[in-house]
Structure formats: C-alpha cells, structure tokens
Symmetry: D2
Subunit: 361 residues, 4 copies
Amino acid sequence: MAKSKYEYVKEFETDDRMLRNVYVLVRIDGKGFHKFSQTHDFAKPNDVRGINLMNHAARCVMHELDDILLAFGESDEYSFLFRKSTDLYQRREAKIVSTVVSLFTSAYVYYWNDYFTDLKRPLYPPVFDGRAVLYPSEVEVKDYFAWRQADTHINNLFNTSFWALVEEGGLTPKAAEARLCGTDSKDKNEMLFTEFSTNYSKLPAMYRKGSVLLREQIPKDADKDAIIPTLPETLPGSKSAKVIPAPGLQSGPDPISEPASEAPSGQSTPISLDSPIVVQETVMQENSSNSSSEGKKRSIDANEAEQQDVEEGPAAKKEAPAFKRMKKGVVIDHIDIIGEKFWTGRGAYILAPEKKKKLRS
Amino acid sequence: MAKSKYEYVKEFETDDRMLRNVYVLVRIDGKGFHKFSQTHDFAKPNDVRGINLMNHAARCVMHELDDILLAFGESDEYSFLFRKSTDLYQRREAKIVSTVVSLFTSAYVYYWNDYFTDLKRPLYPPVFDGRAVLYPSEVEVKDYFAWRQADTHINNLFNTSFWALVEEGGLTPKAAEARLCGTDSKDKNEMLFTEFSTNYSKLPAMYRKGSVLLREQIPKDADKDAIIPTLPETLPGSKSAKVIPAPGLQSGPDPISEPASEAPSGQSTPISLDSPIVVQETVMQENSSNSSSEGKKRSIDANEAEQQDVEEGPAAKKEAPAFKRMKKGVVIDHIDIIGEKFWTGRGAYILAPEKKKKLRS
Amino acid sequence: MAKSKYEYVKEFETDDRMLRNVYVLVRIDGKGFHKFSQTHDFAKPNDVRGINLMNHAARCVMHELDDILLAFGESDEYSFLFRKSTDLYQRREAKIVSTVVSLFTSAYVYYWNDYFTDLKRPLYPPVFDGRAVLYPSEVEVKDYFAWRQADTHINNLFNTSFWALVEEGGLTPKAAEARLCGTDSKDKNEMLFTEFSTNYSKLPAMYRKGSVLLREQIPKDADKDAIIPTLPETLPGSKSAKVIPAPGLQSGPDPISEPASEAPSGQSTPISLDSPIVVQETVMQENSSNSSSEGKKRSIDANEAEQQDVEEGPAAKKEAPAFKRMKKGVVIDHIDIIGEKFWTGRGAYILAPEKKKKLRS
Amino acid sequence: MAKSKYEYVKEFETDDRMLRNVYVLVRIDGKGFHKFSQTHDFAKPNDVRGINLMNHAARCVMHELDDILLAFGESDEYSFLFRKSTDLYQRREAKIVSTVVSLFTSAYVYYWNDYFTDLKRPLYPPVFDGRAVLYPSEVEVKDYFAWRQADTHINNLFNTSFWALVEEGGLTPKAAEARLCGTDSKDKNEMLFTEFSTNYSKLPAMYRKGSVLLREQIPKDADKDAIIPTLPETLPGSKSAKVIPAPGLQSGPDPISEPASEAPSGQSTPISLDSPIVVQETVMQENSSNSSSEGKKRSIDANEAEQQDVEEGPAAKKEAPAFKRMKKGVVIDHIDIIGEKFWTGRGAYILAPEKKKKLRS
C-alpha cells in the first residue's frame, strides 16, 4: 500500500517519556504580555479582570487534568504541579506540555468576553509557551512555589511603588525607576505609606500573594459542569459528561468584590472556583464557613477514593460523614505558600505519600 | 535576598535544544475532535467551515513564525516545517512546540465565529497537542509530507464512501463499515460512481488532497495586517506592526467555489491566504493569473532578501522586476505534494540549500 | 586563526546532564562473555578466578569514584550506585558511564594475570558496555538491588543444576535443559540434594548471592595504594597519592576460603577488599572481628567527615573513638540485600539523608 | 515469581536511541594523561610507542565495528565516524559510546607490553572517557576532522618548540612558555629552524598530522586475525571467526626498525595495518609517492560489496579486477584531511551516498 512506503518517517520520532516517580511541574508564560496588556489597557499595576481570566483558564486546566494537585499563578505565568505517579500520556513530555498550554490558551480566549465585557475578543490572539521541569523531592517542590511567590511579592511591591509614583506622584516612568533604584522592601513600604497613604499589607492578597488553586471539598450542588462548558471525555481523566449551555455567563457583575479584611491564613477563605467567580460568591461564603471549621482536615472526593485508604491519619476517615454533601473541587485562594504552614495545613494532601501500587506502576 | 535562596530550583531545568542543521517538523493534533465535531454538528465527511478555520489558524502560525517554510493540514491535524537553520528560541523544543500549539489554538478559538457564524464561540474550549520531529534530509521531508497526504487520500475516500452509504444509502454505520471492509481504492471509487453518481476525482481538491500553505508572491496591496489582527512584535520574526480592526470579517460567502477542473500544477492557482479566504477571491484570481505565467519561478520578498543570492538559477534574479508590485506572503493551495513535481516546482524553495553562513551559525 | 573557523562543530554537542537529586545507577555488562568464558575455560557453573577478577575491577572503580556508595556484582555484570547529590562531571551521562566502563575494563585486563596466573593476558581483549538509570526514591534503589540479587539466585540455581546434570550426571546439555524445564526452585534444590548430594544452601555465598561492595571501616594500616596501583589524581575524588609497585601481586593462592558457615547478617564478615583478596585474609579476619562487634553501627572516615553530622542517630558519633585506628575503605561481602535488614543495618549509610547544603548545590 | 515483583525498576530506563540518518561521531579522551605520560616517561614532545599503541587500539575498534568509516587520532584522543545508516545497537547512545570506550581501553592495556616492552603492564590502569556527537551533513563531518587536525598542528608545533627550548635550549619550562607567548606559526617555524636546525615540515607526518584510519584494499593474505587476536563474534558486525595464537606478539623487537620489505603491499598503496604499526614508517613514505598515482581510486572489498553499485564513478568498477587478490582492511596513514583533496580522493567512500534501502531502514 502507498501508505506503508512512507511510514518509515515515523521512526524519526523520539521517545520523550519523563522519568517516573518524580513531580512534574509545567509552567506556562504569556508571550509578549507587556505589549498585550498595553494594547488592551490593563489597569496598572494589577488588572483584576486579567487576573481573574488567568485564574479561570488555570481552573479549566485543573478540571480537565485530574493529576494536577496544585497550581499557582502570578502576572502572566502559571505553574501546575502533577502528582509523582501521574501516567498521563505515559508521561510524554511534549504531549503533556502542549496539552496544558493549549488548554490554557483556549480557555483564555474562550472566556475573554466574560471578563473583558466590552470587547468581544482580544485585539489579536494571545499566545503562551510552556515547559516541564522535574522535581524529585518534596523539598524542591516547596522551594519551587516559594520561589514563585517570592517573585510575586518582589514584583508587585516594585510595580505598586512604580505606578504610585507615576500615576499619583506625576513622575515620568524614567524618574520613577530612578527613585526606586537601590531601595529595599522596607523603603518601598514606607514610601507608599508616607507619600501615598497606602498600607501595602492591606492591598488585596490576590495582588500581593498571587493565586493558589487547590483541590478541596466544595458543596455537592456546585456543579462545575453546569457552569463551565468544558471538554467532554476528550482528555484523560475528564469527568465532564454533558455540556450544558452556560446561561449565566454573560451576567457577570464586577468581580472585584474582594473581601477587604483578609482573614488570617488559618481561617482563610477557600473560594470555590466556579465561573465566573463572582456568580458563586454566596456558595463560597457557605463553603468558607464550612471550610473554616474543617479547614485543616484533608478532603477526598469520590473520584479519588482509591487514594483515601493510603493516606495517613485516621482523622481523614472519621471526618468523611461531616462532608456528606461535599465533593472534591478546585478552589482558589491567595495565601502564603512560602513556609511550612501551608504544606502541613491545607497543602498537606499535595505531598502526601502515594499508594505503593501506583509507585510501581 | 529572599529570592536567591530558592532560585536553585531553576537548576533542575534541562537543556532541550534540538540538534542543529536538521529540519524541525511540528505536528499538532486536535484532542477529542471526533466528539468536538459531533457536538458542533460538523458536516460529514467534510465541513468546509471547519477546514477553513483550521487553515486560518495555520496561516496565523506561519505569519508569526517566519522560519516555517511549509505547512500541510488535513482533518484535525496540521504539520509545520521549519527551515534547517532556524534558531528560533535557540531551537529549544518545548518552547517551539508549545508556541506553535498555543498560537494555533488561540487563533482557532479567536476566529471561530468568523466561520461558525451562528455560534459566538464553541460549546467548550477546543484543545490541540503537538510534538516535534527532526528530519535530517530532504528525502525524509518529502516522504513525511507524502505520508500525510497519502493518509488524507485514504481517510477521505473511506469517509466519503462511508457517509454516502449512511446518509444517502440509508445504511447503519455498522452496516456501512461492514460493506467497506476489505475494499480497496478502486472498489470505493466504483461504488461511489455507480451507486451514488459521485465522481470522486471531481470532489473538491481541498477534501481529497488537504491544504498546503506556501510562501509565495502575493500582490503588494494585499496587506495581511489589515485583515488578520495578529500578534504585534511579540513573537520572534513577527513583522506585524499595527493592528487594524477587521471590518470585512463577517461577510464571508460560501467559500467552496473550488474550480472543478484542477489545472496542471504548472498553472496551478496559488490562493492568497487572506481572511476569510472567500473575501479575497478576486485578489486571488489576479494573483493566480500572475502566478500562472510565472508559476515555476521562485519568488522572494524583501524580508527574505538575504536568501536570494544563494538560491540557484539566474532566473530568480531576472524575474524580480516582474514582481515589482508583489511581496512574499502565505498562500494556500490543494495540490499534490506526493511526487517530485511539487518539490522541483512550487516547492523548490523549501528544500533549496541555505546560505553557508546560516549553516555554521 | 584556522582553528576557530571549524570550531562551530562543537555546537552540535548536546548537554546530557542528568536530573539532579536522584540516584544514579550505572550497570555494566560483559559483551559476549558466554564466548569469552568458553574460550578461557571458565569453570562451570562458577569460576572463582573470574568472579574475583570482576570484584577486583569493581573495587578499583569504587576506589576512584568516591561518590559510589554501593556496588553489586554477579556473573558478567556489575551495578554501581552513586549518591543522589553527586556532581561528578556535572552529572554528564556519557562522561560518567564511559568513565565507569573504561575504568572497569582497564582494571579487568590489568589484573587478569593476577587471577589467571597461567595466561599473561586474555586471548583477546574483553569488552563491557554500560548504561545509566536514574532512581528517584529509596524504594526503587532497594528494589533494584533486590531485582539483581533475585536474578543471581535464579540463574545460579539453574546453572548449578544444569552443570550437575551435565558434568556429573552425564546428560547432554539438551537433555539437561529438558530435564529442568518447568521445575521450580524447590524441585531443583531437591534434585541437587537427592541426585548429587549437594546441599545448595551450603554452596559458597559468593555464588548464590553475588558480591556486595560497601564502604566501611578498615584498619588504618591497610593502605589500598600500597596494594592496588591505581590512577593517581586523575579522576575526580581520587585520593591515591603515590604509586607503589605491587610486589605481592603474583603470589595469589586459591582465594576460595569461603567461610562455610555463613554467619547471620548481623555478624557477617565484611572482607576488606585488598588485592589479591587472599593476601589480606589476615587483615580481614581482624577487621571482621572488629566488625562483628560493631557491625551495625555506621562508620565514616575522614574524607567523608562532612557527612557525619547530618546522619541520624547519636550512636554514630559515640562510636567514633572506637575506630581510632580505622578508616573508611571498600569492603566486600556476599550477603542478602533483598529485604529491609540490609538497608537498616550495614547498608543504612547508603540511603541516609544527605546534607541539605548538598541538595541545593 | 520473586523476580517479577522487582522488575518494574526496569521501567526507569530511558530510550536513548539517537536520531536516524545522521553521522554518529564518537570521540574518546584519555583521563589524566598528562600525569600518565609523565609517570611512564613518555618521550617529549611525542612518544612513538604511545602513539602506536593508541593507533593499535583504534584499529581494534574499527576491526570490531564495521560501521566505523574513518578514525582520526592525536595525542590522547581518538575520533570515530560511524556511517549515517548505522543501526548498531539500534543507535542506543550509551551502548555505542560505552562499547567504543571499553574496546579501546581494553586494547590499550592488552597491547601495552607490545609497545612498552620493558614494562609488563602500565603502573596503573589507564582510563578513557567518551561521548557521541551527531552531525547531519557532510560539511560538518569534514569540518569536524579539519578541526581536530588543525588542533593537532597547533599543539604539535607548540610542543615541539617548547621542548626544543627546554631540552635543547636549556630553558626552564616557565621561560620556554614565556618565550613562546604571542608567537604565531611562522615565528615558531623560524625559531626551530634558526635556533635548533629543525625543519618542522620534515618531522614525521605522524606527529604533525595525527593518524588517519581508513578502510581500503589490503593484500588478501594479510590476515588481520592472524596478527591481532580480537573478539570473536561478540560484537555486531565482527567477522573474526577464529582466534589464532599470536606467536610474534611476545617477540617484540624494537619496533622502530621497520622491516622495509613488507611485501605484497606493493601496488596497493594503502598499507595493511599490521602490528606493531611502527614497522611501516618507510613503507608509508613509499606509500605517499604511490598514492599520488593510485590515490584517487576507491576500493571496496567483498564484505561491503553491496555498497559498490551505489557509489558513483565508473572507475570504481573498472578497477575491481586489479584488486583480485585484495580485500578490504583497515589502513593507517598520516595525511591531510583538511581540505577537499582528501574527501574527493581516498576519503571519497566515507561521505558517498548510501543505498536507499539503508536510508529507509
């Protein structure tokens, strides 16, 4: 047959399966987003519509790919952590990276108009790139996310100071840059406070700490599929069975109803990530009250039930009844992931040992 | 500084630069497009809107990435061939693959409504994945594209026969499948002709041969940037300076006015790839008349002028004046790329030797 | 300069540094050793000279490369485990694999005549190949060595049975093979006992369990460099300062003075690996008596002193005085490495956590 | 079975097959050979015994691995070029590199005493490392070898000058280094001529140009296997059927008293690579004059006959009868491989197109 004569070219494909039993981290970055944000008049230093759209796109990625345990976003980048034992696409690197990037990009364009309501679509198609990095141990995973959140802090403090000087202080960008040269965090905090009456630590945590996507219990009736039309059955692990037209999509009010008083991290407010985020505010409040009392306990939903019996601590099982009307979902929060507190608290499930069976394939 | 303490995690990133001086082929595939096409009621066996949208997205990729010499699309897949000497992202594999996939996906969602005019956006975000393959020699490059086009032929003949049996013949899918089992090309051609009065070879070439994107001369006033809003200055090699709103985008008539008598390749009709394709029909006709007289000569525009003096054949230089009002652009056609004719004709520039300077970096 | 014009060819070299912070395992295998052993009339099923020569070569590798923590040999293969944090050759794979293979091969030919005393050199140069495998966790490292030792057991029991049937039982090889077909371990053990009066479990442990090379305390005056002429200062980590002619090299008596009663692992007899092994029998006895009382405690010598304070357990520090006249050296034993006992006992140092400083490079 | 429980660790092995249809170049380097040559009192700037031993070891590699087309050696390094289509070990990188390195090392130790006749074996085992580099095109292959030979020239001219200043001129090494600092080739040539009456261009080509190993016709009765005991049937492609004791090996006379009368070698200019290599010095001089008349003809022996019909040039076929009593063997010469002359002459077979069948596997 004609076909077989040419098929030898397939043999030039290489096997790019990644080492087993190490964490797979996929980080995506916007390409030319400095320009993109200017072209679309993003608010400076932070555009809440832009951040919410990024978060929405990231949530879609987590909804489709169950092996992602945690995601962290800031600016135009997002990091996704896969479980050690993931066998998604047999761990083929190009497949995994390209799928995450495509899914994220697709969702970003798809949901654009839900956040930028005055523009049907962006002025040109936005682009992201991505890469995978392998991390063998828990220490590196923690340090990776600490690295990104430290970066968020440094950049946001600089940008907040810079734009205060430019927009409120009337300095030219060049003069603002010169003014900030050589200053440290304390200097910038003080300058914001004395010159612009801005208490930096009271600014929204979303700006200062970035966004953390977790898998936690959410109310059972918060059906993601009713709200987020997403790929049915096309991606491994997808459980979205049916596609329901999204009637509420256009109704999005101003999503910046950020709770001014950011609660201490221990009682922080895990926000169910249904779309658009604002629509679910009420559910989230309920959720958060549930969560605040149960917050530190680990939660496991049906589709990861096989994990349950391996995970240490009898408490995990005991609390199950309390969550009768809950299920595992993706929630968003803006909390500290630098330091041990997160990893022994709400993040404990992320680095918990996995079933041996999985380890050995 | 807090940052540096964690920055060691960057050392886990690996160097994935691909071997130099070999062709880089990036192939993308739709994920779950069987389901996607059903959900969106794609016409069977071919949906012209879907094909045109694929082609549009592919053209955006070629507009942004100048080092792509040739692209070929069929069904839900597209292949992009980079020049041997490309140094895009220092040939880093993940960067190149993820950028191509993201760009394609972004454009697919972005231009969706220009082709599927009754639906603001798809019912859920579509996803593509991608991979890179290296081909050292011209022989393999030719055979790669022959492989894909042979695949197009085989699949399309099968699908055309299958859907004729189902939709016109009233067979169940199962019965249709059984009916076709064990048949060869000749059998299917005959069945289509005798039972469904269909001369397979008269069906649109776009269905039978897939779509070929080439870099060729187009009229100088066919400004791609006026029509296709695309990334300004964000991707290496992008030359789109300004973004102009696309007023004509919605006006697309039925694009299937495929000339039934596919002319011999020498006088073939390179179609300027402006968007939507149909809008430019007139321009294309002019273009094709220009092309038909000059068709076999190679054409080089300003931004690739440095290539010009290397390329063999004095004719190339002599004809330059004739193209005074032409420039290099991306054109689409549905022609045979199996066999030598294409590669010594319109495709000759693709495998032509490159400047030595480039070869040696 | 003429040179620079061509130097661009270096840019085709790829970066093959292996992922950090995972165990590096290098396994080498003899090429065509079935033929090689026949050509040189190796005793069947085990040739003690051949095994001792393999062990000698492996010990040379460990002497040169300090980051190797453990080695295991059987038949014509040897496995070397590097510490997670090794930065040998910046973890470049080809460098590490080729150095281990070359060093092993070199030593094998070099010391040939010390074991095969009637033949100046082999009848032709023997060849080994090698490969590296990465193991992220302790579980896999344990299971890797268990895999190899299980293989040793299975092969040796089969070979012992086969050659008993052939050499003592007078069967043809084909008949012997047929006889053993479908038998399990118990069947073979019984056959050996009833038909050949052989108690398989009393055969030398070296045959049944392979050879384990460990880093343990040896008497301070057992100067390896006086006995094994080996690379001075040429390999990273080499501490061999001076080369002393090896006068005793030819005197090797039969080295099979294997202690018939294999002691329980706790009191097992770590044998200092000086060369030829037999020469050091006395030293070994002393060593083993020392070891037998201290066997389970971990021992660290000067050149790895920096490790000491990280390693858990206060006992490690307390015992230091007792080893005043001891130093770390490479010892050989033929013990069980399947099961936890080894890894919590004499092998505990191998998988012990490393200094954080090292982890973070 | 006990075995299978652990066998999952094999899944951590990665597929390291190298891209097809590109040249594979393996370069090996001595480790710590500065020290090694000092320890063994190598003559400065060149030790003919050391060079000949290197060449002998390289020849063994070529005898075993038929897919090596060309080798080039200088100082303590050797480069081996494999044909594009080689499928040795399915192109697995670690296998190929480690086998070449092991084979070379093994032969180096094995034949040591044939060249260093006063020392049974080196004072310690020498070590080499190796790496593979892929080259897609003929241009790079030529430039690679030009790069190495240019390096030979530069180093040897420097070393010759340096040691003349030290050993004949009585300078300290430091003073000699200072004296040469900033000089170019012409300066050094002149200094050698005026101060040390040395015409650099008359020094042995082996020193100035390194050593080139080619596959050419040799007399049929020059049976390599009678002279070089080497691996029988153990390596893919090996054709050595039987091992013949090497009677002459022990008789090592001073190898630089080359028997001028190495007979039939007569017409065929290429010289059979019998051992010790030094025997051929005079012949080589003759060789070069012969070569000029016969040099450009290509020679192919029986075992590569299938190549013959592909190779261009009718001359190749016409001369076949003349070589009736010849066969393909490995020959050594010390000629220019910088420049086109070599690659269109004696080296023409190296880059000649291969059979299509091979290209497509």
